[in-house]
Symmetry: C2
Subunit: 223 residues, 2 copies
Amino acid sequence: MKRVPVQQKVLKENDRIAMELRRLFARRGVLALNLISSPGSGKTSLLEQTLQRLPGDIRASVLTGDIATDNDAMRLARFGSARQITTGGSCHLDAKMVESALAGVTAGQLDILFIENVGNLVCPAGFDLGEDAKVVVLSVTEGDDKPLKYPNIFVRSEVMILNKIDLLPHVPFDIDTVYANAQKIHPGIEMIRTSCTTGEGIEHWLAWLRRRLERVRSRPAAS
Amino acid sequence: MKRVPVQQKVLKENDRIAMELRRLFARRGVLALNLISSPGSGKTSLLEQTLQRLPGDIRASVLTGDIATDNDAMRLARFGSARQITTGGSCHLDAKMVESALAGVTAGQLDILFIENVGNLVCPAGFDLGEDAKVVVLSVTEGDDKPLKYPNIFVRSEVMILNKIDLLPHVPFDIDTVYANAQKIHPGIEMIRTSCTTGEGIEHWLAWLRRRLERVRSRPAAS
């Protein structure tokens, strides 16, 4: 995304709504996560696994963004609460879309809101959705150089999910290299290795979610 | 990409430069191809194979776009003429960037100009670079639903390269399904299956390039 004046105005308006969302999430004790990746990195599969395996005392919901189709919401609805946001051409979710879609999911109590962004490793990084944290999902088939080539999203993400690790024997991908590249761009970024096919690593992701939820719950309530 | 007024002005200026580029390519008998895919679908690997295996009577050059790093141009320069365009944050190449970069590659005679776009299945579809054809590269690890979810690029591409077919035994991907989905979005789109690891299918891609180059050579010269 190249910032020209009107886009700065759009971003300012986006930031205003995102701040309102952030206050809303804080007030309700909701952990909001913005999941960003290339198309096909496995965000939806990760969320399927997550909804199925989250302990019963954690109530979760998903907003899933796509340019076209409601396939992902249909997939996720089998395992929990999911709502599609169809962007109609836009390459990213914005705070307004999230605000509108939220009307349908915040009726009951909610602990974690997963926002699955449009498959795009570039543009979504620039739009605050009021989330507590951005989570970048990178699959091992995409190459270990990606943190260097798409730095913005790695700088802004608290954690990098390294997905499809079951495919490691079949692809030229080095875990030490991707970790070093990610640390170069964002010192301290956490890495969690997962496979939604074998289930490997999902428990680490669930543990991270629980820890992160505790942080949300222990923060002072917003005024 | 959401079109707001200033973006329409940007697009209009882009179209003007793209038309100039198209005339230039026509005058010089150059086949210009705009390669678009998600990050890590294998565009650079495909171009490495292509530069190595193109017959000696076809002179090719690559302009390769990335947000950051010149890794791809370094990789490609081992096999032929390659020049990096670093977009400095922009999620797509535009015609102006191609025009500026071309200064360095059109000195000698050129038959095929490959323009490797930024890894992004969304935004590059909206920017004409003066190319003869767009080529969408989809790897089998990304899922067979992608033509439905990212229709714009499939509508505008003459051919879909289905890459990393060596990984088919390890991923849930159905070739008949992706073909049907692509045809639904763009009836008549060609599909070429390739693996840059085993070399399978590369000869079909080279044959397509040769046929496409013949079409360019047989067209009446632009005034």
